[in-house]
């Protein structure tokens, strides 16, 4: 019985403490409810309704018509094929660049290191249309390389190479930005240990570095891929929008939408719904990977802590 009176004041103090703490964090009910309903309203009008509407329009005449709308004309098929080619190539280029950049930034100390970190983010800040224009200025008929390319019969602008280049440009930061914090947190210790045990650079990279960064890398790849498939502005400028040749999926959606007939209108919604589905799938994979990378970082932190 001794412990009870001894305990009580403490418990009371503790509970008033938390009550006070909570009260300080809590705003009046009308502010809380006001903010919550505001956010829901904005989400509903700007996100949920439009997304749902795309699917509603696309499927309004049933899945069979939907499939016909999607596959009726060869040009739409062509756009899908082009996107499925451009995106993986850009992603691959980005993986190579991203790993190399993240490696350089986290493993070496060199002059211009912070500048490089900043420049990697530049494509996020530049409007895609402007990015497209920059490539036109370089590779167009009046651009720096234009005459030389023409003389050698190399087609860059209004063709596959330019589409890949601008897509790679606008997606450049994704992989590197994901990897830099992961590699920073994990540190170089394991890599140096591998070298001390006789591994060469290649063995060290594949057996130690890649397994350690794989979730972060995959996360970057997923985001990069989604952006690469959805890119419109930059591709719009450099592709020439040659129907059946240089139209990607988003460009094709635009062309069909402006087609003027109810058939093209329906097709544009069908194609848009494919892009939207892609976004939703990306979102779910992203959530799953975020948990994985968070667990990796937590483990890295806990190992460093116990040491």
């Amino acid at each position: 019985m001794h412990s009870v009176p001894k305990h009580l004041p403490n418990a009371a103090a503790a509970s008033t403490g938390t009550l006070r703490g909570r009260a300080a964090q809590q705003d009046p009910w009308w502010i809380r409810w006001g903010l919550i309903s505001c956010s829901i309203a904005v989400l509903l009008v700007l996100v949920i309704l439009p997304v749902a509407n795309v699917f509603y329009h696309a499927f309004s005449h049933g899945p069979v018509v939907y499939w016909q709308n999607l596959t009726a004309d060869a040009e739409t098929w062509n756009a899908i094929r082009l996107t499925l080619l451009v995106a993986p190539v850009s992603v691959a280029l980005n993986v190579i660049f991203g790993v190399a950049a993240a490696w350089a930034i986290t493993r070496f100390r060199f002059p211009g290191r912070t500048l490089l970190t900043t420049i990697i983010d530049l494509p996020f800040a530049i409007s895609p249309v402007v990015a497209g224009l920059m490539f036109v200025l370089l590779f167009g008929a009046k651009g720096y390389f234009g005459p030389w390319l023409q003389a050698n019969h190399l087609q860059v602008l209004n063709a596959f190479p330019a589409i890949v280049m601008v897509t790679t440009f606008v997606t450049l930061p994704f992989v590197a930005r994901e990897l830099i914090p992961v590699m920073e947190a994990i540190g170089a210790d394991e890599e140096i240990a591998a070298i001390s045990l006789g591994a060469n650079g290649w063995q060290m990279f594949w057996r130690i570095t890649v397994p350690n960064i794989k979730w972060g890398l995959l996360y970057g790849v997923i985001l990069c891929n989604a952006r690469a498939m959805g890119e419109f502005g930059a591709v719009y400028v450099v592709s020439g929008r040659i129907i059946g040749k240089t139209e990607t999926m988003p460009i094709r959606v635009g062309t069909l939408f402006e087609g003027g007939t109810s058939a093209t209108y329906a097709s544009s919604f069908a194609l848009a719904s494919v892009l939207t589905m892609l976004a939703l799938v990306t979102l779910f994979i992203k959530i799953a990977l975020e948990r994985k990378t968070a667990a990796d970082l937590k483990e890295a932190a806990s190992i460093q802590q116990t040491e």
């Binding site: 210790d189 394991e190 140096i192 240990a193 591998a194 070298i195 001390s196 045990l197 006789g198 591994a199 060469n200 063995q203 057996r207 130690i208 397994p211 350690n212 483990e299 890295a300 806990s302 190992i303 460093q304 116990t306 040491e307």
Partner: protein
């Protein structure tokens, strides 16, 4: 295999990490590089391993110059301060790594890993992951992994730095035992003088990128070559003063000092370890100093007493053995007398004199 280091220098930017360092570790010996952080000991170890390159100087294993060899060709076992275990690999795969990258056959790897796990007493944990191990277990996995490549020498960077006191003590003794079994020339880095003295055959004390003193633990402890070594090897009481005419006048402490019979007065500093001071209730001899007890801490194997001399404004640490402490019945505030059994006097730019 002996290790010889000749005139190594290494600079990081404007910081001189190593300045013309030479040393030799005899074949089969266990050598400790001891020093505070920034003394260059880890840099030296990494250069010996080939993980860092020197600006000048050379590294030899036995008679073979390995200065320009890769870590792989040098065949060293290196244990990292924070173990650097491969987090996505099991204990088995961690230990096997060095053999896997050398493309050894699977059966050989399996046998060798089992032998090593037995050696470091981790047989049952082969399938665990590093995150599931305690600090002491991780440390032993790191050691087994380093030994798996049949290294010619073993290098350990602060091997016990991250462990708690009890585990550290156990692992120290175990490392010494293991060394006696496998007889691999071993160099380890530590900032803990107790650890260096307990484990090593030879201790090399480093400071500011150069070697301050090297010798057996006994030699270094009993005959510190410089005030720095004296100070670094544990608690000391410092007295500043002068010497002349065979006398050292150190404020509170005036003692005969026949090693310096000259009339010319010179600056000197005297160092006395806490256990080299005695406490009496009454004045005794000529050199005892009147002090007041300020703090008494009898916890541990010795009683740590703090006393203060009002006359000289000087605080001293005294270690008494427990019997003596009980006999004296010391309490804070007591008036007592302190004398030194042993004093080391250092004069700037002069060798050590010991009384």
């Amino acid at each position: 295999m002996s290790i010889v280091v000749k005139n190594l220098s290494k600079q990081f930017g404007s910081f001189k990490a190593l300045d013309d360092v030479s040393l030799e570790a005899q074949s089969g010996s266990l050598l400790a590089l001891l020093g505070p952080s920034g003394s260059g000991k880890t840099t030296l170890l990494r250069i010996i391993a080939g993980l860092e390159s020197a600006d000048r100087g050379s590294v030899l294993y036995e008679a073979e110059d390995v200065t320009h060899q890769s870590p792989k060709d040098r065949q060293v076992g290196f244990v990292f301060q924070h173990y650097a275990l491969f987090r996505h690999m099991s204990v088995f795969e961690n230990v096997a790594f060095g053999m896997r990258v050398r493309n050894r056959p699977g059966a050989e790897i399996k046998q060798r890993v089992q032998e090593l796990l037995h050696l470091v007493r981790l047989e049952g944990l082969a399938q665990r992951y590093p995150s599931q191990l305690s600090g002491g277990q991780r440390q032993r996995v790191a050691l087994a992994r380093a030994l798996a490549v049949q290294p010619r020498i073993l290098l350990l960077d602060e091997p016990f730095g991250a462990l708690d006191a009890k585990v550290r003590q156990e692992l120290r003794q175990w490392l010494r035992q293991l060394h006696d079994e496998i007889h691999l020339t071993t160099i380890f880095v530590t900032h803990d003088q107790e650890e260096a003295f307990e484990v090593a055959d030879r201790v090399v004390v480093m400071r500011g990128g150069h070697i301050e003193q090297s010798g057996s633990p006994q030699e270094v402890f009993d005959h510190p070559a410089t005030p720095f070594v004296m100070d670094f090897l544990g608690n000391v009481n410092v007295f500043h003063g002068r010497v002349e005419n065979g006398m050292a006048m150190l404020g509170a402490l005036n003692i005969a000092y026949p090693e310096y019979p000259h009339a010319e007065s010179r600056d000197a500093t005297a160092y006395v370890r806490p256990h080299e001071l005695d406490i009496e209730r009454f004045p005794f001899g000529t050199s005892s100093l009147e002090v007041r007890v300020t703090q008494v801490n009898p916890a541990g194997s010795v009683a740590k007493i703090r006393v203060f001399s009002e006359q000289f404004g000087l605080a001293l640490n005294v270690d008494l053995n427990l019997e003596r402490y009980i006999e004296l019945q010391l309490k804070p505030g007591d008036q007592v007398y302190v004398s030194a059994r042993r004093v080391r006097v250092f004069m700037p730019n002069a060798p050590e004199y010991s009384i």
